[in-house]
């Protein structure tokens, strides 16, 4: 019984592989034919802007903390209006593994992944993208969200001016 199974198991695969020769290969001839990536395909990373045109990135370092290969680095700073921003923001794409953790960690929807997977280079240094290379002038997958309109510490709206906030309290009144 065992011997029969052994023989059968050794002979049968020959039939399968032979049949495969006459089936249509699933290869896509890459440079000539291109596959259309899904909208959520994880490739080149961008920094988007909020609907008011401001940089969404607040340089909170969450993406660099989430990055398993440590390819994101930045320096945060404060604009005169109190807005937090990145003086420089660098992604080293020669190290990036396109895992999407950064985009998932981003609390302001600033860092997003695009389906543009064709940007290999010959020089490793040209794969180090600075902020101006990453910044785009649209909102990416969500054009509505403006983080500072929900943060609750002013900057875009006056303090207490967001829809879910009461105006600042008068601490000097004794009225209930």
């Amino acid at each position: 019984m065992n011997l029969w199974r052994g023989i059968k198991g050794s002979i049968q695969p020959f039939g399968i592989t032979f049949r495969n020769i006459f089936r249509k290969p699933s290869t896509i001839q890459y440079p000539e034919q291109k596959r259309t990536p899904a909208p959520r395909f994880r490739a080149r990373i961008i920094l988007t802007r909020d609907p008011d045109g401001g940089e969404r990135c607040v340089a909170c370092y969450l993406c660099s903390a989430a990055c398993p290969v440590d390819c994101i680095s930045m320096q945060s700073a404060e604009r005169p209006d109190g807005r937090r921003y990145a003086t420089w923001f660098r992604i080293n794409f020669s190290r990036c593994i396109f895992c999407g953790m950064c985009a998932e960690a981003c609390p302001t929807l600033a860092i997003q992944m695009t389906p543009d997977y064709e940007f290999s280079k010959r020089e490793p240094l040209t794969l180090v993208y600075e902020k101006e290379d990453l910044l785009v002038d649209h909102g990416g997958k969500d054009n509505e969200y403006n983080y500072y309109r929900h943060a609750g510490i002013g900057v875009v709206n006056p303090r207490g001016g967001n829809p879910d906030e009461a105006p600042p309290v008068d601490i000097r009144t004794n009225l209930p």
Binding site: V58, C60, Y61, R84, A151, G152, I153, R159, A166, I171
Partner: protein, 799 residues
């Protein structure tokens, strides 16, 4: 010692401990905000709920408010307690803004941790969030009131612990507000502690604002290098830049908090002019070349003029290891011309303390537990602020405090202040010994006899002295007084404020005859041709600047090792950059004789902020840090002696050489340090010629200022907004006699030159005294602290 059971685990805790502390001992972490080890518990946050099953208390209680008793059985995981905690954290989060990404506390925020621990995730409340307006609280603390969860920790820190009066809790109902009555800088010099105390981001470090995240910082246990107390700190660095300092925990010294000089004085490590490359003359060279040149020129001078033509100068701000290597360099060069302090009086003071103090030396923790404190010639808020805070804690527990000092000393606690003239402090100490106060006026006698009486009655009295004002002789008198007042069952302690973080350590290494004035004389007479300065600046730190400068100008060879751009570093023939305290590991011996180890926090190198010019760092591949980074001072000095060694082998060698340093090699920065062994020595104070006093002359005394006198913090741009302006301090009655009003310019002439500065007036100071705060880097060459002149004064003619 009650024994209780928490979550089926049994623990025995000291009398008076609460249940939350008992749970902490079992490593059971229960969310809590308002409880803090140094501040105690108030039961304001309602978060540490536990279910009490057996014992005096029953039901769900706040663990921090229940004293641990025998036989208690407590559950932290009880369904009701967990549910309550979950609801409380949800209430706390009800008004909390949605701004963690732009909050500097993010990552080290207790509220974040506790929210996760409490299990709250989705906001259910649909109503409006309460908002506040923020206040400007000065250059150090940033205020964001919307984040507040009303735990009261800031007020308890600022008002109760640190004694600040200009900040508190305002408003009522749902409008509780933590701030000042008006916008304005926080006045307390301990204001930075509310940053550490706040469990969320209401108070954040303004100098660190939006610099880095907690998890990106390189941190290590360190020791504050800005005064002689040796407070524990935790410096944080990123991208080769020291970015902030927060308080460390050392139960024997600072406890949990630190002063603003220790917290915000870190800028010296990133000073834009910090010399980071070895220099020969003005030429930047490699380490090998500079060391070769230094060895060669020292050998050349020893060959031509004899080994005694080389002198060495150590420093109270260099680590013990570096000073020791300087000593062995002297042996290597066969010279005995070595001193460890450019300021001879401070040198003598430290050596008196190191020789005499070990029996009755007292730590800050012992000061906190004292019941009577007599401060003599000490201005702790300016000279060693945490000393003032330690005394405050004693006073809060019911201790008495008295202050004998000619200055109008501000203190964060209530004390009797008798402004005796500086010259009479020793006289006072001798009178305390003798028990009679005949030489004092009747009014003074009443106060002094009261102080002496308290001193006799107290169980744990401590005398606190300021080294600068007392001088070596005064410190010796103070130590003898404390010995005299000690009885078998009731020792009287002493604590002295010294010049630098390692003054005691440097004094331990000093020989019998070392004196920098002697070295200066040798240089003037041409017997000494070369001077090696380790982290010291004889060009500005000598009491007689004209004397030191004219002598030092005659040197053939000046070798300087330093981490800040001092005058000596600029003028050096060979300059060797060394690591700043936060960059190197080492040991300081603090004023009490406690060896405190500090670990290296980060590697030195030009910060990325500089190499990138504010923008992104250069796009180059480069292994390691940019060329020739500074080395540890001990390894540079070792290299001059052709030694290659590890820090550990150096420490073992030191243990072998100096019996008092036993335990040095095994010293761990995480621990509370270790007292040096008693020496039982005596130190003879050489006679110093008295200053000839003239009739009608004022006693001009240079004193310390918190944010201006200490070398390292003077090189910290972070402190620039709070630097005082140079001015005279004068008794208002004296001023009235010469017709001077506050703010007017006073002209003072002494035998060492004259000054013209505005004057400030006070009534709580000694008559006939004139004080001037030493400010480093001020345009006027102000004399070094502890220097006294006879001065003639007159009003400047209005032009």
């Amino acid at each position: 010692m009650p024994t209780l059971t928490i979550d089926n685990k049994t623990v025995t805790v000291p009398e008076g401990a609460n249940v939350l502390e008992a749970a902490k001992r079992l490593d059971i972490v229960i969310p809590h905000f308002c409880y803090h080890e140094a501040l105690g518990s108030v039961g304001a946050c309602r978060l540490c709920a536990m279910k009490f099953l057996e014992g005096p208390a029953k039901g769900i209680q706040m663990a921090c408010m229940v004293e641990a008793k025998d036989g208690m059985v407590v559950s932290t995981q009880d369904e009701g307690a967990v549910d309550l905690r979950k609801h409380v954290i949800e209430w706390l989060m009800m008004n909390h803004p949605h701004d963690c990404p732009v909050c500097d506390e993010g990552g080290e925020c207790q509220l974040q941790d506790m929210t996760v621990a409490g299990g709250h995730g989705i906001r259910r409340y649909g109503g409006l969030k309460r908002t506040y307006n923020n206040q400007f609280l000065g250059p150090f603390v940033y205020h964001e009131m919307n984040r507040c969860i009303q735990c009261y920790r800031c007020v308890r820190t600022y008002q109760d612990y640190c004694g600040g009066t200009d900040f508190g809790v305002l408003g009522c109902n749902q409008r509780i507000y933590f701030g000042r009555f008006r916008d304005g800088p926080l006045e307390s010099v301990f204001s930075g502690n509310i940053v550490d105390a706040c469990p969320t981001g209401v108070f954040t470090d303004k100098t660190f604002r939006f610099h880095s995240r907690y998890w990106d910082l390189e941190e290590a246990s360190s020791v504050c290098p800005h005064c002689s107390l040796g407070c524990a700190t935790i410096p944080g660095a990123r991208y080769r830049e020291l970015q902030r300092v927060r308080g460390g925990v050392n139960k024997e010294t600072n406890g949990f908090f630190i002063c603003d000089r220790g917290r915000f004085g870190y800028g010296y490590a990133n000073h834009p002019d910090r010399p980071r490359i070895p220099r020969i003359g003005d030429r930047e060279v490699s380490w090998d070349d500079s060391l070769e040149e230094a060895r060669g020129r020292l050998a050349d001078i020893a060959h031509r003029h004899g080994p005694a033509a080389i002198a060495l100068l150590g420093s109270p701000r260099a680590s013990l290891e570096a000073n020791y290597r300087l000593l062995t360099l002297a042996h290597h060069l066969e010279t005995d011309r070595i001193a460890f302090e450019a300021h001879p009086e401070r040198d003598r003071t430290a050596r008196v303390v190191a020789a005499l103090s070990d029996k009755n030396s007292r730590s800050l923790e012992e000061i906190r537990n004292s019941d009577f404190l007599l401060l003599v010639g000490a201005d702790p808020l300016n000279e060693a602020p945490m000393m003032a805070l330690a005394v405050r804690q004693a006073v809060r527990r019911g201790a008495g405090a008295a202050l004998i000092d000619p200055r109008p000393v501000g203190l964060p606690f209530h004390a009797v202040h008798l402004p005796l003239a500086a010259g009479r402090l020793s006289e006072f100490l001798q009178a305390v010994c003798a028990g009679t106060f005949e030489n004092f006026s009747r009014q003074e006698r009443t106060i002094l006899e009261g102080i002496a009486e308290r001193l006799r009655r107290a169980q744990r009295p401590i005398l606190i002295g300021g080294g600068d004002l007392l001088g070596a002789a005064g410190v010796r008198d103070l130590l003898r007084t404390s010995e005299k007042l000690s009885k078998e069952d009731r020792p009287c302690g002493a604590a002295l404020i010294l010049g630098g973080p390692n003054s005691y350590g440097a004094a331990l290494l000093s020989g019998e005859t070392s004196d920098f004035n002697g070295i200066l004389d040798g240089i003037s007479e041409g017997r000494i041709r070369a001077l090696v300065c380790l982290e010291s600046d004889p060009f500005t730190d000598h009491p007689d600047l004209s004397r030191s400068r004219s002598a030092l100008a005659k040197l053939d060879l000046l070798i300087a090792l330093d981490c800040v751009p001092t005058t000596t570093a600029e003028k050096a023939n060979i300059f060797l950059p060394v690591k700043a305290p936060a960059e190197s590991a080492g040991v300081y011996v603090n004023n009490e004789g406690r060896m405190l180890a500090f670990a290296s926090v980060f590697d030195p190198g030009t910060p990325i902020r500089v190499t990138g010019g504010g923008d992104h760092p250069p796009r180059v591949f480069e292994p390691g840090t940019p060329r020739n980074p500074p080395m540890s001072a001990w390894s540079v000095l070792g290299a001059l002696q052709n030694r290659r060694e590890s820090l550990n082998s150096l420490r073992r060698e030191m243990e072998g050489e100096h019996a008092r340093l036993a335990g040095l090699a095994s010293l761990d920065p995480e621990t509370d340090g270790r007292r040096v062994l008693p020496g039982g020595g005596r130190f003879e104070i050489p006679e110093i010629p008295a200053i000839p006093t003239e009739e009608k002359a004022f006693d001009l005394i240079s004193i310390q200022s918190l944010f201006g006198s200490e070398t390292l913090s003077a090189f910290s741009p972070v402190l620039d907004p709070v630097r005082p302006v140079p001015r005279f301090l004068m008794h208002s009655a004296d001023a009235a006699e010469i017709g001077l009003a506050a703010g007017e310019t006073l002209r003072v002439t002494t035998d060492r030159g004259g000054f013209e500065l505005p004057v400030a007036l006070s009534e709580v100071m000694a008559r006939g005294c004139l004080f001037i705060a030493h400010l480093k880097g001020s345009p006027v060459d102000l004399p070094f602290p502890g220097v006294r002149f006879a001065a003639r004064v007159d009003r400047r003619k209005e032009s």
